[in-house]
Symmetry: C2
């Protein structure tokens, strides 16, 4: 199952047609073949275009089984998060690796679900010093300036020359962005920057991105309180909160949780919270239990063709290609490697 697939809004009738009679109905010659859908481009990408994600970059969160039950909905709920690559947000990412190693989140809970915004987890007693769970030793306080990375630091970290930085510009055709001078991809993540040729760069709040809850400025959060986006990209948070990764599997276990009815979507009753059984770096799990994932290299030709097809849908369902796309509407495809 590849994430990042999007499908037209077909009726049940069309769905039945696609499932049963498509090969016969569309026995087309090569010349008349319809343009590939973005998902078909992804499925056809050569193995060499898929990049393995290191076990040390994968955070595995296991939730208690869904008490609401229902067909096909019992059993374990597992969410996998890919951590942000250097040089972005590395202070918080390092804290998160320490918190996971200390098993700090085990037995805590999901405390907030706000529709079209975020799901948030951590220490529900964190607002009360007497009840708060102590943080492990060795966490660093990260300054606000680390919400962004300077062009020089980015080029050093990314080993990109100034020339290539200017060239490696997403999107492949001219799109505008209301929030930044440029948007681009780097190692499987979406980033924005102040201009096409220079200036600081920062990660983008797209659906499924994971960020660090915090108190009022100059606090930037430790990484103990995390959230993920479950609605339209809240990009006003870009450069205002640290982003540390993105959910690459199991987001539906978070996005389908009952919404909280308290202020900001916090649950009003403790029994509404979803218990966290454990959060582990995949590298800490026994080898046989480590989940393995690859992402479609955002530096590959396959990705460029996929992004172009997302911005210009020419597959049969579509009448008018958009001629553009915002970066959060072009999610980076991720694949689970059968284990």
């Amino acid at each position: 199952m590849v994430r990042g697939m999007k499908n037209p809004v077909a009726t049940a009738a069309l769905c039945a047609l696609l499932a049963t009679s498509l090969p016969a109905a569309f026995a087309l010659t090569e010349a008349a073949k319809p343009a590939p859908a973005p998902g078909e481009i992804v499925n056809a990408a050569p193995e060499a275009d898929w990049v393995a994600i290191a076990p040390d970059d994968l955070l595995v969160m296991t939730l208690a089984p869904d008490p609401r039950g229902g067909a096909g909905r019992t059993g374990e709920r597992r969410i996998v998060i890919q951590l942000m690559p250097a040089p972005f947000s590395q202070g918080w990412v390092s804290n998160i690796r320490k918190l996971a190693a200390a098993h700090w989140w085990d037995g805590l809970s999901i405390n907030r679900v706000q529709d079209n915004y975020v799901v948030q987890w951590g220490d529900a007693g964190g607002g009360d010093k007497l009840k708060a769970r102590p943080l492990p030793a060795g966490l660093v306080a990260v300054p606000e300036r680390d919400y962004t990375v300077s062009a020089d630091a980015y080029r050093r970290g990314a080993k990109v020359s100034r020339k290539n930085w200017a060239n490696r510009s997403y999107p492949p055709i001219g799109h505008d962005d209301p929030y930044a001078g440029r948007t681009t991809y780097w190692r499987g993540f979406p980033f924005a920057s102040a201009s096409a040729s220079d200036g600081p760069a920062w990660p983008i709040h797209c659906y499924g991105m994971v960020g660090v809850g915090r108190n009022l400025s100059p606090d930037t959060g430790s990484g103990a309180e995390l959230y993920t986006v479950i609605g339209h990209a809240p990009r006003h948070l870009d450069r205002n909160i640290a982003l540390v990764g993105r959910v690459i599997e199991g987001i539906e276990h978070l996005s389908s949780l009952p919404r909280g009815t308290g202020p900001l979507g916090f649950y009003e009753h403790p029994q509404e919270r979803t218990p966290i059984i454990s959060v582990r770096l995949a590298s800490e799990l026994p080898k046989a239990e480590q989940p393995r994932f690859t992402y479609l290299s955002t530096e590959s030709d396959s990705f460029a063709r996929y992004a172009d097809a997302r911005a210009n849908r020419r597959d049969p369902f579509f009448v008018t290609p958009a001629g553009g796309a915002d970066i959060c509407n072009i999610p980076v495809p991720v694949r689970r490697v059968p284990g």
Copy 2:
């Protein structure tokens, strides 16, 4: 409860602070008062800026109670949809009024929930002619050209002069849009157009917008099969599917449904579908049961200030205002009128 409020990602500690000690901690003089948050601007808008929605423009869908139960989650699930204003999508909207008057959806179900995409409802047997529920008489077949409205038709329908059309340009400050020459608001809905001064206009697929499922072109759907957006705005669907309204209350009853595990997010087992008890125009309900709503006039100064604040967050949580926003990140505020 006003929809369209968005909150920063505060920690539990900050939430506790805001709830308990803010008045004391922030006993500020008028001069030092922090800039208002978008929600504060909305709450301060004068009564005259709120526009009543006609009962004939409200569709009320009642779902069976949630079998999953849970604290605060029993009882009726009601979703209210505001229908699209003329001159947009009126062929489909007229079909939908006829379908509601015929009680056509009663006893049908929600059949598809695809994460970060759509929830879809209608006749689960629609793909099978022997099982399909017959449509009521008098529905019209709407042509594809009605996905958009020409500038002339828009100006006639909206009673706007060419000069005012060019002037009433959202956003108030210069933002870019990757999908269209311009985005704007009209009577509480988001629209795009080919250019700032002329060309066709069309409704936008933002979170909560309601559209018409269809088969392959040139079919445009009747309005019997509907969906709503529950993820990042899938704007590649703009101009490719008819949009007929938006959910203004109860979207959480749809967005938190279990995701379907079949292709395109269709449920694999009939028992996973959520039964629809009824769909009615509010105007058909007894007067005492008619829900009443107002929206913040998108033509008001209050709305312009709200949109500006959404694009430039200056309230205390924020460090760096974005300097822009995409139209789907500025939802039109809606208020339920106490009945």
